[in-house]
Amino acid sequence: MADAPEEPETPASNADPVTERALGVLETEHADSVVASEMTGAHPWIQVKAEGLADLMRTLRDHDDTQLDCCHLITGVDYPGKGKDVGEIEVLYHLCSYAKREDAAYFKRAEKNDPWVAIKVRVPRDAPNVPTVMEVWTGADWHERETYDLVGVRFTGRPDLRRILLPEDWPGHPLRKDWETPASYHGIPIIAPEDL
């Protein structure tokens, strides 16, 4: 391989270059929003505040250093708390850039080996309100609807937030950890996944 001699210089810092760059942009443009970050390992991420999320995402999309022009996936993960703690719901945005496909530095391999950037938002479980990013990436529309449908995250500031996969009268949000499988739906018996 032609690029073999270059390899020894990368492990100097184990940080993921793409996430590092995105963090750099956020710290200059939206310094108050960054809550926490993890730069190393197989899944680096940046956690930000829910307030002003759309502006922050627009910066990530438009800034010359990041140019994250594709919202690959939106995920909701439920972390219920114990006792009096209501717990939190985490919403994850996996973003990637096609504009940077010519940029060699962008493809410097860290452990993760894939140039996506993960942005996390944590909201309380009893008021899971996250601003929509639909106006930044239109494709977020269906992903947000699915996250609402299955995890019950309420995306604010967008039209038409309704279920997408499940029927409209389905009880609750099945990927919440405290969701209980009903015995039947309109007289149709349901087998709980645990009994499969």
């Binding site: 390992g41 197989a42 899944h43 022009d69 594709c70 919202c71 690959h72 996936l73 995920t75 993960v77 439920d78 994850l92 996996h94 096609y98 496909r101 493809f107 080996n113 894939d114 140039p115 996506w116 993960a118 990436w137 239109t138 494709g139 977020a140 529309d141 269906w142 992903h143 699915e146 299955l150 279920r163 997408i164 996969l165 499940l166 029927p167 099945p174 990927l175 996944p193 645990e194 499969l196």
Partner: protein, 412 residues
């Protein structure tokens, strides 16, 4: 009739008309309401809501599309998905990793091997499992065979959508033999569970490799024939060229991936740009949209053409992989009860329809805490809400067909 009568908006038309705007040309009857007033109450036109599917051959499965039409034109469109929802993510939280892998097959059932490949990679990366080199080659070969089969299906069925029945039947001959190949190696025709955590289920036998060689040769020989029937067919070109345009900006904004993205002119393929498995060891081209034979960037014709060229590239990859393939085991030593350490992972791979992403959160138990899958068809079908506006109903069928969606993956 005078010569002036042929000019629109002038001559005898103006003489008959009640419009008396001093010297100004008559307004063009653009909107429905203006036309209504001009034509009179007897010939009133109104929007018609038309429901296509979910049981309709042109919607490729159980997709329901509700369109508002104005004559032959689509004014508004709303796809309704979810009819095939089988709780793949919920099941992923309920069964151990070993048992979840067969469910992955059922998402994109026309590319089950590719699904398994990406899902197995995600679990292996999370659990730190080293896959033997020979198994990686087996995976690439089998995933590329699956890609050819999936693209053959897409190409053939697209002809069927547009009224060309013959190419569909011809392509099914090659597809059948390819399915036999996968059947002989895995025991299943459509859903395989061949790629497993730590490697593949069994090694290729000599007879199977001979069978594969013969099949590759026949695909290569027949592909130009199919192109004569469809790609180079004048009628087909006129039905697809300049139809259903998804340009670069729209494709990125909606998260379109795979042939749809490349047809829009974005030169991006995970197999080359973010090589996983052993894809970095092969020479192949990434077909990108161009306006060569017919059409323009991002139209239905280009998406079809990209699939045809991707079949050729897959043939190249398989041949190189067969030549390079090392000897060795095809399965890593795996514990009876596999537990992934605490952590999270996001892995994506290039499926025939686009980028499949698998996100897993593990809390150290044999079962995942959360599994999330990004089906490429999900984003690829969402985009039609925007691009189908203003097309004709017949072109809508061409557009949906060219997106080559599998509803099993949209709904998961």
């Amino acid at each position: 009739m005078s010569d002036a009568g042929h000019t629109p908006g002038g001559g005898d038309v103006a003489e008959r008309d009640v419009y008396t705007g001093a010297g100004e040309p008559a307004p063009s009857p653009s909107s429905v309401h203006e036309r209504q007033e001009l034509v009179g109450r007897d010939l009133r036109t109104e929007e018609l809501v038309l429901n296509i599917g979910p049981q309709h051959p042109a919607t490729h499965g159980v997709l329901r599309v509700v369109i508002k039409t104005d004559g032959e034109f689509v004014r508004e469109l709303e796809p309704h998905v979810g009819n095939l929802h089988r709780c793949a993510e919920k099941i992923g939280e309920s069964v151990p990793y070993y048992q979840w892998l067969p469910y992955v097959d059922r998402m994109d059932y026309l590319a089950a091997m590719c699904n398994e490949h990406v899902a197995a990679m995600a679990i292996e990366k999370l659990g730190g499992v080293e896959v033997p080199e020979r198994a990686e080659y087996c995976r690439v070969i089998i995933a590329e065979v699956q890609r050819i089969l999936s693209h053959l299906m897409a190409i053939g069925v697209y002809g069927l959508d547009l009224g060309a029945f013959t190419p569909f039947l011809h392509q099914f001959r090659e597809r059948e033999r390819g399915m036999d190949l996968l059947d002989h190696i895995s025991g299943g025709r459509l859903l395989y569970h061949y790629i497993q955590i730590g490697g593949v289920k069994r090694d290729f036998s000599r007879e199977w490799l001979d069978e594969l060689d013969a099949w590759l040769a026949s695909v290569e020989r027949r592909l130009p024939e199919y192109n004569t029937l469809l790609l180079n067919n004048r009628v087909f070109q006129q039905r697809t060229a300049h139809i259903g345009l998804i340009n670069e900006e729209t494709a990125k904004r909606w998260g379109v991936t795979g042939p749809g993205l490349r047809a829009a002119g974005v030169d991006w393929d995970l197999r080359r740009d973010v090589p996983y498995s052993v894809y970095d060891r092969f020479e192949f081209e990434v077909p990108c949209g161009e306006s060569g034979i017919a059409g323009e960037l991002g139209d239905c014709f280009n998406r079809h053409w990209i699939r045809v060229r991707e079949v050729e590239e897959s043939l190249k990859i398989i041949r190189q992989a067969l030549a390079q393939m090392p000897e060795g085991p095809t399965m890593a030593k795996m514990p009876k009860s596999f537990k992934a350490p605490k952590g999270e992972i996001y892995v994506r791979g290039e499926n025939p329809r686009g980028e499949l992403g698998v996100y897993i959160v593990s809390d150290g138990k044999p079962t995942a805490y959360r599994i999330r899958c990004r089906g490429p068809s999900f984003s690829n079908i969402a985009v039609i809400t925007e691009v189908a506006r203003g097309t004709m109903i017949a072109d809508l069928v061409a557009l949906i067909g060219s997106q080559d969606i599998v509803l099993g993956e949209v709904d998961r």
